[in-house]
Amino acid sequence: MSNKVIQAMYNDDDVLMDAVKEVRAANHHIEEVYTPFPVHGLDKAMGLKGTRIAITAFMYGCVGFAFSIWMMNYMMIEQWPQDIGGKPSMSFVLNMPAFVPIMFEMSVFFAAHLMVITFYMRSKLWPFKEAENPDPRTTDDMFVMEVAVDGNEAELVSFLEKTGTVEIKVTEKH
């Protein structure tokens, strides 16, 4: 398989959406689409699977919840039970109502931070990471569709030209 891709540029999100649908209908493989803002329905049109990141957030939240229970039970009930203000901490169940606020805060803390870290890792976002958008205008008002060249290059270019593209470029895949 060749390493070549065609980068077709669009200047409107609606034109891009129609183009994505046409390219998919013609059985060409869309490598990637770069957009300056979230285009609603684009992921479905491209045939991307839904993201499972919300499920991970739920699981991280459960971890935070369990951790907070373990932590407070260990520190206040098991390791060093104290009698504070005439309220001895001898039993987890009896002390539990006072632990609710921190159980909640830790669940949120774990869910939010670990989900965001997961997102950054999965989408390869971190400080000093080089940006990979093919053209600086894709964060402004340009939309780029990368289509893999498979077979007749000229035919594919002329096909894409009919989808409303404003610029077209054939490059090596990076």
Partner: protein, 463 residues
């Protein structure tokens, strides 16, 4: 085009004939341009105030909190008043970015970035007070459950003050990642436009290499939604827990079950007022009147009106319950609050928080920029006095009439408070010159549905 439809009756959220590129240019303009004299003047004043505050804090830490106006009856005053005031102000940012996202309110997009910035900067100010009022700041880490030299003496998880530590730190850190995640595409926009190499480097670093792939956007939107879902109960819990600092005590005037909802409403109230104060100036100075429209200000005024009325309801309910309880101490606490030596603070609180927002019932007044600005300042003063009234009037006349006293702040109390205002504005002014102050990527998604030009175009097509 069907996804871009919006009822013609809705007023446009983006005024004028804008293209995607115009949005980019106008949001980048304050960052790429040079600061004017006004900015430098404001910055110099804020920096001076900040430095005065730093001096006051150093003096406090070096000498001890005896330099404050506290006495043995009033052991908590401006420190905690300022803390609650700043935390409260912070609440509006999360409310705008999280709650309005869950309710799919598109008008949040013009203001959420700055409101969240305000949240983070004001929670930073708030966080200073509990730390310095410990007296021995160098022992601040004792509030964290970490193993220490006393064997394993842990923190007291039954204490509302410790809940506060967890609530505030979770709130600050979660707000920060929420804000930063939203900033990535906008930093990327600045990075790709940057001409000077230094600027390009800085924004490359800040944008974490954001490239705008379809999959990234899909995850981005899901993450934003889940963070909004997490931040909504979080923001409510934070001020609830702040109110527990008082409500779980046995002091008449504090020991009140109405505190959590009342504090949350008050927080939203003061926060929206602060957003109005900041944005009315910023939209003018940074030429963003097309994105932060009169309608935005009007809608915020409506929120101020409603939450102000909720707060008013809470004040009256408190008085009623004090009378209805039949508890003498409780009754005296409220009688003293309204008619005692601090009557003027109570009156100021009532007139600023309950009376003044009622002007917003008038459409003409709530659409007036000048009037909105004045009310926003009035509300902020009123909300500071609300906390002062709750805290000081409940303490200054305790169970023993021989120890009754008044509180008067020293120059150090005032210095620290003014210093935090200075610090807040230093941060906000720097933000306004270096950050994309409008969530431009988000605003671009509503251009076709809610932009004035596209709405007109669509309406003329239908006819």
């Amino acid at each position: 085009m069907s996804s871009h439809y919006e009822a013609p009756i809705r007023r446009p959220l983006i005024v004028g004939e804008k293209s995607y590129h115009d949005i980019t240019v106008e949001v980048a303009a304050p960052v790429e341009g040079k600061a004017n004299k006004l900015w430098w003047t404001a910055f110099a004043i804020a920096l001076t105030a900040f430095l005065w505050g730093v001096g006051s804090i150093i003096y406090t830490i070096g000498t001890g909190i005896g330099v404050w106006g506290l006495n043995k009856t009033v052991g908590w005053a401006w420190d905690i008043t300022n803390f609650v005031w700043w935390v409260g102000i912070g609440h509006a940012g999360t409310l705008i970015s999280a709650v309005l996202l869950l309710f799919r309110q598109k008008w949040r997009m013009g203001i959420n970035r700055s409101a969240e910035a305000m949240t983070i900067f004001s929670v930073v100010q708030a966080g200073l007070f509990p730390v310095i009022h410990m007296g021995r700041v160098w022992n601040a880490h004792f509030v964290l459950p970490i193993p220490n030299q006393f064997g394993t003496l842990w923190t007291n998880f039954n204490s509302p003050l410790l809940w506060d530590v967890f609530a505030i730190s979770t709130y600050l850190s979660v707000s920060l990642v929420f804000w930063w995640t939203g900033l990535l595409p906008d930093f990327a926009m600045l990075r790709d436009r940057a001409v000077r190499p230094f600027q390009k480097k800085i924004y490359s670093l800040l944008s974490f290499g954001w490239s705008g792939r379809a999959k990234d956007w899909q995850r981005f939107e899901e993450v934003s939604l889940v963070l909004a879902g997490l931040a909504t109960p979080l923001v409510l819990s934070v001020h609830t827990i702040v109110s527990f600092d008082f409500a779980t005590s046995v002091i008449p005037g504090w020991h009140t079950t109405i505190f959590p909802p009342y504090f949350v409403a008050g927080a939203v109230f003061s926060g929206f007022a602060m957003v109005n104060t900041l944005l009315i100036i910023m939209r003018k100075v940074s030429n963003l009147e097309a994105y932060i429209t009169k309608q935005h200000i009007e809608l915020m005024n409506i929120v101020i009106m409603i939450t102000g009325s909720i707060v008013g309801c809470a004040y009256i309910t408190e008085l009623f319950i004090a009378w209805y309880s039949g508890v003498e101490y409780e009754q005296y606490a409220f009688l003293n609050r309204a008619t005692g030596p601090y009557w003027w603070a109570y009156l100021l609180m009532m007139s600023c928080n309950v009376f003044s927002p009622q002007f917003m019932w008038s459409k003409k007044l709530r659409q007036s920029i000048t009037f909105s600005f004045i009310i926003s300042i009035v509300v902020n003063i009123g909300m500071w006095f609300e906390r002062f009234v709750i805290i000081v009037t409940s303490l200054h006349r305790d169970y023993l009439p021989s120890s009754w006293t008044m509180f008067s702040p020293t120059f150090v109390d005032i210095g620290i408070f003014v210093g935090t205002i200075g610090f807040f504005f230093v941060l906000f002014l720097l933000y306004a010159r270096t950050f994309p102050v409008i969530a431009q990527a988000e605003v671009k998604t509503i251009l076709k549905s809610s932009g004035e030009y596209y709405k007109k175009l669509r309406d003329s097509n239908h006819e």
